[in-house]
C-alpha cells in the first residue's frame, strides 16, 4: 500500500462522512422549514424516507425479484428446473441434508453445554473470567474461527510430526492420522463443532442471566424439601428459564441456517460439506447459476421464516410477563 493509496482511502471516508452529514443536515433543515401546508406530511417524510427508500431498494425489491428468479431458467423463461435440480441432484440433496444436520446439532449442543456451564459457574469464584473465556469466540469473526479450527484439524502425512492437536491426540493413542476436513462424513461434524464452539458462549450468557433471575426463595424452599441438586435443576431451574431456553434454541437455529463463512473458509463446500447458504453463494456468484442460487435463497427464507416468527412470539410473551 502506497501513501497515495492510504490518502485516497482516508479521503474517501472523510468525503463519505461529510457528504452524509450534509445530506442529513439539509434534510433536517427542510424538515424544520417545511411549508405550513401539509407540514406534518413533510416532516414525516423527511424522517422516514431515507430509511424507507434504502430498505425498498435493498431488501423489498430484491426479495421479490429473487423469488421470481428462482422460477426462471438462465434464459429467463419460466421453469421449475432450479427446484428439480435441488431435489434430485445428489450433490444438491446432500447440501439440504447437511443443513438439516447442522440445524439439529448446533442449537442442541450449544444450548446443553452453555446451560451446563452456566450452572457450573453460577456464583462461583471468578465467574466473570469463566464467562469471558467461553464467550470470547462470539466476538471474533467466523473466518478467524475457521482458521483457528483448521489449525486444530491440520493433517501431516506419513511419519512427520503432527502439528494439528486433534491428529496429535489420535497419534498419541496409537491411531493413524486422519485428513479430517477431506473425510466425509466426519468433516461436516467437525465444521459443526466450530459453530457449537462459537454459539455456546451466546447460550451461556443468556441462560446465566436467566438463572440469576430465579428467586432464591424457590431454590431454598426446594432445598428445605430435601431435594438433591439434580431434582432442583429439573424442577426449579429449568421451568424457571424455559422461555430463555426457547429463545436461545431458536436464535442459534436461525444463525446456523444462515451459516456461510465457516464452510467457505474451511472447505469451501468441497468434500460434501456444503450447506444451503454456502451453495447459494457458489451457484449464484461462482457458477453463474443465478436461478439455482435464487432458489436456494428462497429455500433458506422458507426454512428461517417459521423459526423467526416463533422466536418473535416468544420474545413478546416474555416481555409481557416482565
Amino acid at each position: 500500500m502506497t501513501t497515495e493509496d492510504l490518502l485516497g482511502k482516508i479521503l474517501q471516508v472523510v468525503m463519505g462522512l461529510v457528504v452524509f452529514a450534509a445530506i442529513v443536515g439539509l434534510l433536517i433543515f427542510f424538515i424544520d422549514k417545511a411549508p405550513k401546508k401539509g407540514r406534518d406530511y413533510w416532516q414525516l417524510a423527511g424522517f422516514l424516507l431515507p430509511a424507507l427508500i434504502l430498505v425498498a431498494i435493498g431488501l423489498v425489491w430484491p426479495a421479490i425479484r429473487t423469488t421470481f428468479l428462482a422460477f426462471q431458467d438462465n434464459s429467463g423463461a419460466w421453469s421449475m428446473d432450479n427446484f428439480v435440480w435441488m431435489f434430485t441432484q445428489p450433490a444438491a440433496i446432500r447440501t439440504l441434508i447437511n443443513t438439516v444436520v447442522w440445524v439439529l446439532l448446533v442449537p442442541t449442543f450449544a444450548t446443553v453445554v452453555g446451560l451446563a456451564y452456566a450452572i457450573f459457574i453460577d456464583k462461583s469464584r471468578g465467574e466473570r473470567y469463566f464467562k469471558a473465556l467461553v464467550f470470547m469466540p462470539m466476538a471474533i469473526s467466523f473466518v478467524g474461527a475457521g482458521i483457528i479450527w483448521r489449525f486444530v484439524y491440520e493433517y501431516r502425512s506419513g511419519d512427520r510430526e503432527q502439528i494439528g492437536i486433534l491428529n496429535a491426540i489420535v497419534v498419541a493413542f496409537g491411531g493413524e492420522p486422519v485428513q479430517w476436513l477431506q473425510t466425509d462424513p466426519i468433516n461436516t461434524i467437525l465444521l459443526i463443532v466450530v459453530m457449537i464452539w462459537i454459539q455456546t458462549g451466546f447460550a451461556m450468557v443468556v441462560l446465566s442471566a436467566a438463572i440469576k433471575g430465579i428467586p432464591t426463595e424457590q431454590i431454598e424452599a426446594a432445598q428445605l424439601d430435601g431435594t438433591n441438586a439434580w431434582q432442583r435443576f429439573r424442577n426449579v431451574t429449568v421451568p424457571g428459564i424455559r422461555g430463555s431456553i426457547v429463545v436461545v434454541l431458536t436464535t442459534i437455529s436461525i444463525a446456523t441456517l444462515k451459516v456461510f463463512d465457516i464452510v467457505r473458509t474451511m472447505t469451501a463446500g468441497n468434500f460434501n460439506t456444503s450447506v444451503v447458504a454456502n451453495e447459494m453463494y457458489t451457484q449464484a456468484f461462482r457458477a453463474s447459476e443465478v436461478g439455482r442460487g435464487s432458489a436456494l435463497a428462497l429455500i433458506l427464507f422458507v426454512m428461517v421464516l417459521p423459526i423467526i416468527v416463533y422466536n418473535i412470539r416468544i420474545l413478546r410473551q416474555q416481555r409481557e410477563i416482565r
Partner: protein, 330 residues
C-alpha cells in the same frame, strides 16, 4: 435490602466470610451461601474442563503466531518447551512486507476500518430518525408501516444479494466512475457499494431496536419541548438523540463488530481488490490459496482478531447487550 438484616443476625458461614473479605457487597451474601451448598467440586472441575477445551484452539493459534516458520511446520505448539523459539517476523511479514506474494494485510486493515466506521454511522443515523418518526410523529398508517419494516428482519441477506448487485452495477457503477474522474486519487473500485449494502441490511433491526428505546422516552419530556415551540428537528437532536445514547451505543458496537467480522457482504460488493476488500475477505482468500503457510495464517488471523477482542474486553457489558439484542441479524 432485607437480606442485609438477616445476615447480620445469623453468623456468616466461611464461604460468605471469604466473599466479604474480597470486598463483595453484603447483599450478595445470602445467594452466596445458597450457592456454596449448590456448587460441588465436580461442577467446578467440569467447568474448568469446558473452559480449557474452549480456550485451547485459540491459544494454540496465538502461541504459534509467535513461533518461527520452521518450527510451526515441523512441531506442535504444545511442544514449545522442548522446541523453544520466539519471533515477531510473522507479524512483520503479514503486515509490512511489500513483496507481492505476502499477505500485505496493512492495506486490508485500513479497508476494514474504512468500511466499518461509516457502515456503523450511516444506518444508525437513518435508523434513529426513522425510529423517532415511528414513535413520536402521530400519523395514520404509521403503525402498519412500522410492522412492515420490522417484518423485513425475516428476509435473509441471501435473498437480497443478486438483485442488489445488479442494481449497483447499473446505477452505482457510473457514479463511482464519475467520482474517479473528478478525484483521481479515489479508485474506481471504492467503498460506496459496501457502505450502502451494510447500511441497508442494518436498517430493519436498528429501527426496531431504537424504536423500542425511543418510544419509552416519557411523553411529558417531548410534549414540554413541543409546547416551548421546539421543532421536530430540534427535539430529535437536543432531546431524543442524547436520551437514546445507551441504546445507540449498544447497537453501534454490535453493528461495528458485525461489519468488521462480515465476509459475505464483502465478497459480493467489494470486488476483492486491495482497494476495498476487508481483512476477512483477504483471510478467506489466504486460507484458500496458502492454506499451508501457517506462519502467515496464524499471524494474519490474529491481526483480524485484535480489534474485536479489544472491543470485547474493554466494552464487555455494552458488547453483551448489543449482541443479545442483535443476535438474529443476517
Amino acid at each position: 435490602m432485607s437480606t442485609t438484616g438477616t445476615s447480620s443476625v445469623l453468623p456468616p458461614d466461611r464461604g460468605t466470610e471469604e466473599e466479604l473479605e474480597r470486598g463483595l457487597e453484603r447483599e450478595e451474601s445470602k445467594p452466596a451461601r445458597v450457592k456454596k451448598r449448590l456448587t460441588s467440586r465436580t461442577a467446578t472441575i467440569a467447568a474448568l474442563i469446558i473452559a480449557v477445551l474452549w480456550t485451547i484452539p485459540t491459544f494454540g493459534l496465538f502461541l504459534s503466531s509467535f513461533r518461527p516458520a520452521e518450527l510451526i511446520r515441523t512441531t506442535g505448539w504444545w511442544t514449545i518447551f522442548q522446541n523453544p523459539g520466539f519471533t515477531l517476523e510473522n507479524y512483520q511479514d503479514v503486515l509490512l512486507s511489500p513483496s507481492v506474494s505476502s499477505p500485505q494485510l496493512g492495506a486490508y486493515f485500513v479497508n476494514s476500518i474504512a468500511i466499518a466506521i461509516p457502515a456503523t454511522i450511516f444506518p444508525l443515523v437513518f435508523a434513529s430518525m426513522a425510529a423517532y418518526a415511528f414513535a413520536w410523529i402521530k400519523f395514520r398508517g404509521v403503525h402498519v408501516l412500522f410492522i412492515l419494516v420490522f417484518a423485513l428482519q425475516i428476509v435473509p441477506l441471501q435473498m437480497a444479494l443478486v438483485p442488489l448487485l445488479q442494481f449497483f452495477s447499473t446505477y452505482l457503477r457510473p457514479m463511482q466512475a464519475w467520482l474517479h474522474d473528478v478525484v483521481p486519487i479515489i479508485p474506481e473500485q471504492n467503498y460506496l457499494p459496501v457502505w450502502i449494502a451494510h447500511t441497508i441490511f442494518a436498517l430493519p433491526l436498528a429501527i426496531f431496536l431504537l424504536h423500542n428505546f425511543i418510544a419509552e422516552i416519557p411523553s411529558d419530556v417531548i410534549e414540554a419541548a413541543r409546547v416551548d415551540g421546539a421543532s421536530h428537528g430540534q427535539i430529535f437532536f437536543r432531546i431524543v438523540l442524547p436520551l437514546a445514547m445507551p441504546a445507540i451505543a449498544s447497537f453501534a458496537i454490535f453493528q461495528f463488530l458485525w461489519v468488521w467480522n462480515d465476509l459475505l457482504v464483502a465478497l459480493i460488493f467489494s470486488g476483492g481488490t486491495q482497494d476495498v476488500a476487508p481483512l476477512t475477505q483477504r483471510l478467506a482468500e489466504l486460507t484458500g490459496s496458502r492454506g499451508q503457510d501457517w506462519q502467515r495464517l496464524t499471524a494474519a488471523a490474529f491481526v483480524s482478531l485484535v480489534v474485536p477482542l479489544i472491543v470485547f474486553f474493554s466494552l464487555q457489558r455494552y458488547f453483551v447487550r448489543g449482541l443479545l439484542a442483535g443476535s438474529t441479524k443476517g
